[in-house]
Amino acid sequence: MLCVTLTGYTRPCGGTTGGISDILIFDPSDFNFTQTTAKDPYSAVALRTGATAEGGGKFFPINFQDKEAEWTWKQSKGTACAVKYEHEVKLMLVENSNTLTNFLQSLDAAGCCCGIGMIIRLNTGKTFVAGEKYVNAASIPKFTIAQDGSDGTSGKNFDDGNVGNIVLKGDYSRNLREFTGAWSALEALM
């Protein structure tokens, strides 16, 4: 440790599982996450003063096609030790409709103004937070998630997919933090 404090990586012996179980989105200005130390996961979340559920301060579930959502990340090292993590979430939404058009417009507006907050529950049960803005009642460096690169299709034949493939992207200085509360702790804020 004469130069740098490294840590090892260990986990209990056993298998794991891929895939995403649930995705929620939120206005990052509405929620404060609590973190006990700078390296700990988030252990509590609540609406900030002034934000109300009646006023739209909620976690909103996204009903994506089963087994058609994925979070990927890519780390790169740039000039002078600068580190970047490119986060991307792709999810398939079924049926082109006015409802989908309105949803996409709301994503575009959020991406343009204040970013999109995301809660991602993996099939392992672990829950991650992306695009958050407030931790321990203070703002953190900007982590802006926006819709970028989505596409869609009507399909050609009756049994083709009629879908939107939504892409949400955001760069940050680190990988995502985990939220350690149970899903039921988040459901109360939906």
Binding site: T34, T37, A44, A46, N136, L189
Partner: protein
């Protein structure tokens, strides 16, 4: 005994296994420990007279400790 200020009894904080309003939760000691460890002012302000972290940790562990009864002395058997 931990007490939430009246104005925060209906507030929802998602932590642990529930998101019930704070006035209905029976695990406030966990939130109090989170508040003391994080020093998050938005949580600290919800409690009346928040004990120190050491006191809170002691309170959390005490109910889990087995009650030890003193062993009977040999003389007691006579």
């Amino acid at each position: 005994m931990l007490k939430i200020k009246k104005e925060y009894e209906s507030t929802v904080v998602g932590f642990g296994n529930s998101g019930l309003p704070l006035g209905k939760r029976d695990d406030l000691i966990d939130l109090a420990i989170i508040a003391q460890r994080s020093q998050d002012p938005s949580l600290l302000c919800m409690f009346e007279d928040l004990p120190s972290l050491e006191q809170l940790q002691k309170q959390k562990i005490e109910p889990l400790l087995p009650v030890l009864t003193p062993a009977a002395k040999p003389d007691d058997k006579k």
